[in-house]
């Protein structure tokens, strides 16, 4: 039998598929997903409170603009219905801590130097905000917007949480 290009087509298809599938995308939590036990332990959101997880970094100018608004919003939440937790994704711990001091961040912050937490969330842009109720992601807000505090309050109202 004379070898022909058609004999190798199945092999070629298999190889192309292998090539395409090899750089498989990392698992990312999405709205509706429940956090893994590791993430639940790390974030430690108190029961009965809505978790607002804010990812930021010292090099992200939009993140720096949003943080004062978030601090203002926390002060408005007199009934403590929200639990805001910041995730600083700076790879250099010193830079992250200096940034937090500069902005006088007074809410809990996790220094995600190894970027493991943000890798699990995998937001397409920063700043990134996630709303978590009973360890389940119920909403997210990606990218910078003016008056983020009002935006968060509106989002939470839609989720049935009055601030």
């Amino acid at each position: 039998m004379k070898p022909s290009i058609f004999n190798v087509i199945p092999s070629a298809i298999l190889l192309v598929l292998l090539f395409l599938l090899t750089p498989s995308t990392a698992f990312a939590v999405e709205v509706g997903d429940t956090l893994s036990e590791d993430l639940q332990k790390q974030l430690n959101i108190p029961e009965g409170q809505v978790g607002v997880v804010d990812f930021f970094a010292s090099w992200c100018l939009s993140c720096a603009k949003e943080i004062p608004a978030i601090k203002k919003m926390i002060k408005q939440d007199s009934q403590q219905k929200m639990y805001v937790i910041g995730i600083d994704v700076d790879e250099e711990l010193d830079e992250g801590i200096a940034f937090q001091k500069e902005l006088a961040i007074d809410f809990p912050v996790i220094n995600d130097v190894e970027q493991t937490i943000i890798s699990e969330f995998s937001p397409i842009a920063m700043p990134a905000l996630y709303y978590i109720i009973d360890n389940k992601i119920v909403g997210k807000h990606i990218g910078a917007v003016p008056n983020i505090d009002e935006k968060i309050i509106n989002d939470l109202q839609k989720l049935g949480v009055e601030i």
């Binding site: 070898p3 290009i5 004999n7 190798v8 750089p23 992200c60 700043p127």
Partner: protein, 76 residues
Amino acid sequence: MQQAMKIKLLLIVCCFTCSACSIVPVKSWQKATLAGETMRFGGPNPMIKKFDEHIYTSKEGTKGGGGVSGGGCGCN
């Protein structure tokens, strides 16, 4: 049969070659270096930036496009 093997081998080599050239996208949280001052047009020194811009304007008749708004974090 030998020719078929050759084609298979060629395809394998092509796949390996292509995968070596594949681009790994930079994630939004990995842009610290890209957001650095040294990555700006003309570097961190504003005077050099001014001269660079002047050269481009006078020699090439182009202006602007030397930077991006925001912090390089892929945000709005």
